[in-house]
Amino acid sequence: MRVCGVSVKDTTTLLLDEEPLITGNQTFSSITEKISGIVEGETNKIWFILLGLTSSLALMFFGSMGFLFWEGVGIWGVNNPVGWGWSIVNFVFWVGIGHAGTLISAILFIFRQKWRTSINRFAEAMTLFAVVCALIFPGIHVGRIWIAYYMFPLPNQMAMWPNFRSPLLWDVFAVGTYFAVSLMFWYTGLIPDLATLRDRAKTRFRKMILAIFALGWRGGNKQWKNYEFAYLLLAALSTPLVLSVHSVVSADFASAVIPGWHTTIFPPYFVAGAIFSGFAMVMTLAIIARKVYKLEHIITVNHLEKMTKIIMLTGMMVGYAYAIEFFVAWYSGNVFESFTFVNRAFGPYAWAYWIMVSCNVIIPQLFWFKKIRTSVPIMFVISILVNIGMWFERFVITVSSLANDFLPSSWDYYSPTVWDISLLIGSFGLFFSLFLLFIRFLPMISIAEVKGVLPQADPHYYEITKNRSRDE
């Protein structure tokens, strides 16, 4: 085929020949209107109610933290064998949630998965907010919060470095790096959309603010060229981070000697679990957002179905890891190891173990059915169950291994206190508050990128459509 002197290879599928990712005959301007409208229009009443609720919970979060700093970590249920309780469980849980965003933005970007464009922006925002929640927990869980800065390699009069052999220190760097890169990535992606909003701004003040953050974007070819290179660079940088962060987090456990922690399967197992839970969280948020803001044409069932497939895949990976752990415990012949795993499934924490297995391994299997993959209410419920399951996975790993380790004399049972619960619920409050503020003030879907996957984005769209209508 030759169009206007430019040869188009027949192997390349034209954008407009694909199943459209965005439905409802959207045009460039309808996309801009739709998404900018959410930010610029009247504030939704439901939004106010939701923010009121979530910010109350966030207030409870900070209040609980204040009491924690005042009294000490004794207000939690942690005890002598179980030194890490819900705070670390929450940390790992939130870091896990924070995986999907960057995965969607970076890895799917590199693999040219165009469907990512409808969800990547808020997935990235979700990542940031999840990592904010995640970073709070290891910070507040230390006994002496006022000297937590000892963990950073700051020059000091004692000439003391932190201990580079400690996985907790690796966490500091890994999660810190991840947060920094995710923030840059997210912000970089926002620039063209911020410029769009700037150009549409009606008040001078709004224009000024947006102008500052849009960094003088004018959409020139040169800018796009630089921009896309920067985006690719950040994507390339984020890709290993997606894998490294949770691998490093898993090293907190894997590098310890405690049976149930001391296992080499943890890095891939944790990464799979993180993607699993992260996608589930994106799905939960996407389903609510598309409903509330009527974005069904932009975030289509097709998008959601693709996500269910990833959830099913990673769910099976997690299930495989569970099975292999049992196998290795038995095959190693190590009494401590075997006991730990039998104890997980049939000991005092069996209830948590079976919640984990049901939610993570059994329930996602429902996605084999197309009907369920395309049923929004069912996938909404499953996405929540997956996150409950993944929270319990971290609980089972952290608590059950510590509660029953080498010396039976030290075994004890861990039960959370009201403060453990208030901090977990409060962290959800903070997370959703940040998220609600984000969808109110920033375009929750990447306007520029979604336009890029519209059929109109094909450079030859007009010729081809014209030719086709002539052929007919």
Partner: protein
């Protein structure tokens, strides 16, 4: 775009051609660059790439808090003879019942901080026990009474003196009619002198002696057959066979320290060729002695005496001369225990003269008499047992209290002076002592606290602690010591001798002079000063030791004694109840001692409570679970308390411990546990049948320091019978199979200087808790309270793990002291993000408190779970006086800091400094850790592992040596010596019987 005109009129043919020109290319490149500026040329250096990615966002700083400011108190007037930082040591003695423990007290800048045993004292020989160690905290008890009280109003000592002097005039006239004294028992030359003066001055007065928990049955039994006031003193090191008849001689009986020492000596094994003693225990409730036994038979308390009688008969049948009257004790099923009786009798006969039969203080006088006769017949008298006169001592006598109560009822008593004791709380409940007290016009109570009794008396006089007093004592085995004060009375306490002297003479004299007056009759006048000073210095009077008495037994009286025995059939509806002194608070006098309250019971591992103990079968029959509240009824009286299932308890019996449920003990002891004295009555004093329990349906939370009693098949405590040890001497080290322990890197060699190490001999350890309190006292370990203990947050650096093995109904029990093992490859050190726990060059795993931020990662990664975290600021609310009990050489840890055993690093450094100053090498055993120093069994050895001649090196050469969890390749510096039991082959098949 500008197109250059250099091409003149040369027409371009196509746009393509024009696009080839460099100008156009340049313009094009500028607008549509292939690469962003700065990376032109395509080659992206690593440095450039990283620089581009280098931007990062600063973390928000976390809110900082101020560390609490410590208050310091400077000297106003410095005490004499003090070099700040150096301790002074004074010998003294701790009176306890009819005995006394010789001690050495460490004094820091004028205040006593730590108690050790006195090496010169033949009872303690430098060792101590939990109660001795903890008694220092009683000195600093903020709830001690600080003033005299008259009718609940504060009064002064001089007021009391003039009040009494007035009163005394009338008594002198009436020869003491209407005057009565109720004292606790004592063994003290001075107090006894004053007692004799009292009875001489006031022949009409009454003197009653009451102890809720005492050896009265022993005195009575021995007196009945010997006619003498004598007391048996045992030497366990000379006994190859020990039969304990309900006697917890390693913990709860008098003189337990020398008993543990002697027993451990007779049990010690250097090689597999050594011999060891054998211990049979017949008892109702599991005891630490039962845990050490080679054979343990659980029998209800009332069945112990007939069991002993059957052994005596068996011995007589085997031809030994044991003159026992032919008594039949009905109700005991001999045939069920035939095998045991024969085996024990055979073993005793085989070891004639080298055996020992001991009976417990709860057992009736009959059994003590019988045991004495049996020991005599076995030729043990003057070998493993000798009898010492009860000189200078006032033994307890329940009948004297009964007489007193009767006199009060008859209105014969106008003035009652109660010296020590707390009868309103702990007298037998059917005496209704509080009501009796109300009938007396003048009542005076001398005690350290305004307790239950003080609240009922017209006068209360605060008693000085023994560390604040002048006095003297005599130990059970006949050693006299002077008690010297270490500090001025903190709470205006009055010394015992001072008060008694006032009562007798009407004169208010100095206790120091009173005591010296007594001792002037002991030492010849010529060298009195010299000998007095020598006694004060060494802590013991080396002259006129009371040695053994010649005894002869008239066993005819056994028949009379047996009449009081009552053997009934027991069932779940008619249980036998046993009253025992509590392992922590004794008879209740230590109820306000937080260290003791928090030390778990050696058997049940419960702290801060006293549930009723029942056996597994009985619990099943009664449908009870742990922590169920029951209503326990005994002869018309009842008490609600929780139950705890104790494997090894005899079926159809229930055991309660005394000393809890205090209402006026102080802030620590008030309303802790349940007052079992409310069930204790004349007809049910030590044990009685006819008790019944009924579940109330309520539950009660108990604080347990060890929830799991099974080792789960792990080789933690390694144990073997003697025969296996002999055939397979290295069994302990070979018990766990593991791959070769290799390292991925070159490890630190630790081959210079001192390399500290420790061994703990599980064959010697009796689980007596002495090390736990010694450590708590030495290392300022906080008390956390019942709620925190039940959450699993007790702070003990050393703990005693207790495991059961074998049969569920009658398991064997083992103890294992566990503290930081100072791994050379410590997993805690690797995971600490701030390097707050590191290794020093002497192999110590050190905690840097100032650096610790409290991630608790180290505790998680510790396979031995010995690290303890300050979940709260446990020391914040310490009363000022309590702070004085702290060791100034050890930091008091604040909230959020991890802590653990340091191998008493302060002691190591003190010794090192001393050796350096003296220009010499450290000697072996110059450094004793606190746990090691207190251990009466000498189970703990500590020292330099590089010195091949050190005690610890020799101990590590023992073939029983093994490293717990050694397969983890952590190279622990503490290793254990495996436990060996010496079962009788004749009883091989009874291991799991009954």
């Amino acid at each position: 775009m500008k197109i250059s005109t250099d091409n003149g009129v040369k027409y371009w043919r196509s746009l393509d051609q024009l696009a080839e020109t460099p100008e156009f290319k340049k313009i094009l490149d500028n607008e549509f660059p292939e690469n962003p500026p700065g990376i032109a040329g395509g080659a992206l250096s690593r440095r450039k790439f990283l620089a581009l990615m280098g931007a990062s966002i600063a973390f928000a700083g976390l809110a900082g808090c101020q560390r609490p400011v410590e208050k310091i108190v400077p000297y106003v007037k410095a005490p004499e003879n003090i070099t700040p930082g150096n301790s002074l040591f004074y010998a003294s003695a701790m009176p306890f019942g009819l005995s006394a423990y010789g001690i050495v007290v460490e004094s820091r800048v004028g205040r006593p901080t730590k108690i050790e045993g006195n090496i010169n004292h033949r009872l303690t020989k430098g060792k101590s026990g939990a109660l001795i160690q903890a008694s220092i905290l009683n000195l600093y008890d903020p709830d001690r009474s600080g003033a005299l009280r008259n009718k609940a109003q504060e009064a002064s000592w001089s007021e009391f003196v003039s009040f009494y002097q007035e009163l005394q005039k009338t008594f002198i006239e009436s020869q003491g009619r209407g005057l009565a004294i109720l004292s606790s028992s004592f063994a003290s030359p001075t107090l006894f002198r004053l007692y004799e003066e009292f009875t001489a001055a006031f022949p009409e007065a009454q003197w009653a002696v009451y102890e809720p928990v005492s050896d009265e049955n022993i005195y009575d039994g021995i007196k009945a057959i010997s006619g003498q006031n004598i007391y048996p003193v045992y030497d366990y090191s000379k006994a190859d066979i020990v039969v304990s008849l309900d006697s917890d001689f390693l913990y709860a009986e008098s003189d337990e320290i020398s008993a543990v020492r002697g027993f451990a000596e007779a049990r010690s094994l250097k090689t597999e060729n050594d011999t060891m003693n054998r211990l049979y225990v017949v008892e109702n409730m599991y005891s630490t002695t039962g845990a050490m036994s080679d054979h343990r038979l659980r029998l209800p308390s009332s069945h112990v005496a007939p069991f002993a009688l059957e052994i005596a008969k068996e011995l007589r049948n085997q031809g030994l001369e044991i003159p026992i009257p032919n008594v039949r004790l009905d109700g005991f099923d001999r045939d069920a225990h035939q095998k045991w009786i024969q085996a024990i009798a055979k073993d005793l006969k085989k070891h004639k003269g080298k055996s020992l039969i001991v009976a417990g203080k709860r057992q009736p006088p009959y059994l003590h008499a019988l045991a004495a006769v049996m020991n005599h017949g076995l030729g043990n008298t003057n070998n493993s047992v000798r009898y010492v006169s009860l000189k200078d001592a006032l033994p307890p006598s329940l009948s004297s209290l009964n007489r007193l109560v009767e006199s009060i009822d008859n209105g014969k008593i106008q003035t009652l002076i109660i010296m020590d004791g707390n009868p309103v709380y702990n007298a037998l409940v059917d005496m209704d002592f509080a009501a009796k007290l109300a009938k007396v016009k003048n009542t005076v109570h001398f005690s350290s606290h305004v307790d239950e009794t003080s609240r009922q008396t017209t006068w209360h006089i605060p008693a000085a602690h023994y560390l604040e007093s002048w006095g003297d004592v005599r130990s059970n085995d006949g050693v006299r010591s002077v008690v010297q004060p270490l500090i001025e009375p903190l709470f205006n306490g009055v010394m015992r001798a001072q008060l008694l002297n006032l009562i007798v003479t009407g004169k208010d004299e100095n206790a120091h002079d009173i005591v010296r007056k007594t001792w002037k009759s002991i030492f010849p006048e010529l060298d009195f000063e010299k000998k007095w000073r020598k006694t004060l210095n060494s802590g013991v009077c080396e002259e006129n030791l009371y040695e053994s008495e010649e005894v002869g037994f008239n066993s005819e009286n056994l028949g009379n004694l047996s009449k009081s025995l009552n053997i009934e059939n027991l069932s779940k509806d008619a249980l036998e109840i046993t009253f025992a002194a509590d392992a922590s608070v004794f008879d209740g006098r230590y109820a306000n001692n937080g260290w003791l309250q928090e030390t778990p019971d050696p058997i049940s591992k419960l702290a801060w409570d006293n549930p009723a103990l029942i056996s597994l079968n009985t619990a099943k029959e009664l449908g009870l679970k742990n922590e169920d509240m029951v209503s326990l009824t005994c002869r018309g009286r009842s008490l609600e308390l929780p139950v705890w299932i104790m494997p090894g308890q005899a079926d159809n019996t229930i055991a309660v411990s005394l000393g809890y449920g205090r209402t006026s003990a102080g802030r620590v002891g008030n309303n802790v546990g349940f007052n079992a004295y409310l069930l204790r009555q004349t007809s049910a004093k030590d044990f009685a049948h006819g008790a019944a329990v009924k579940a109330t349906g309520k539950r009660y939370k108990l604080a347990n320091t060890q929830n799991h009693g099974s080792m789960e098949g792990r080789a933690l405590v390694r144990e073997a019978p003697l025969t296996e040890y002999q055939s397979h001497p290295h069994f302990a080290a070979e018990m766990v199979e593991h791959p070769p322990l290799e390292s991925l890197w070159k490890e630190h060699p630790y081959d210079e200087g001192n390399q500290w190490g420790m061994t703990i001999d599980l064959n010697a350890c009796t689980g007596c808790n002495a090390c736990m309190i010694a450590c708590q006292s030495e290392n300022n370990i906080p008390i956390v309270g019942k709620e925190q203990v039940s959450k699993g947050r007790e702070m003990s650096w050393i703990r005693l793990d207790r495991y059961f093995s074998g049969d569920l109904q009658n398991p064997e029990m083992v103890y294992q002291p566990v503290t930081c093992v100072h791994c050379e490859m410590a997993p805690c050190e690797q995971v600490c993000p701030v390097a707050a726990t590191v290794h020093d060059e002497e192999g110590l795993n050190v905690m840097v408190y100032n650096r610790c931020i409290g991630t608790r990662y180290c505790a998680n990664n510790c396979p031995y779970k010995v690290r303890r975290f300050n979940f709260f600021n446990f020391t914040k609310d310490y009363p000022h006086v309590f702070q004085m009990a702290q060791n100034p050489d050890v930091s008091v840890r604040s909230r959020g800091v991890m802590e653990k055993c340091t191998f008493c690093t302060q002691r190591i450094n003190q010794a090192k400094v001393k050796a350096k100053k003296e220009g010499r090498e450290l000697a072996d055993s110059e450094i004793l850790t606190a746990c090691q120093q207190s251990c009466p069994a000498d189970a703990i050895r500590f020292g330099n592992m590089l010195d091949k001649n050190s005690n610890v090196s020799k101990s590590k050469m023992n073939n029983r040596n093994y490293a717990m969890l050694g397969e983890l390749n952590l190279k622990p510096r503490i290793t254990y010596l495996a436990k060996i039991r010496n079962p009788n082959p004749d009883l091989a098949d009874t291991k799991s019987q009954i």
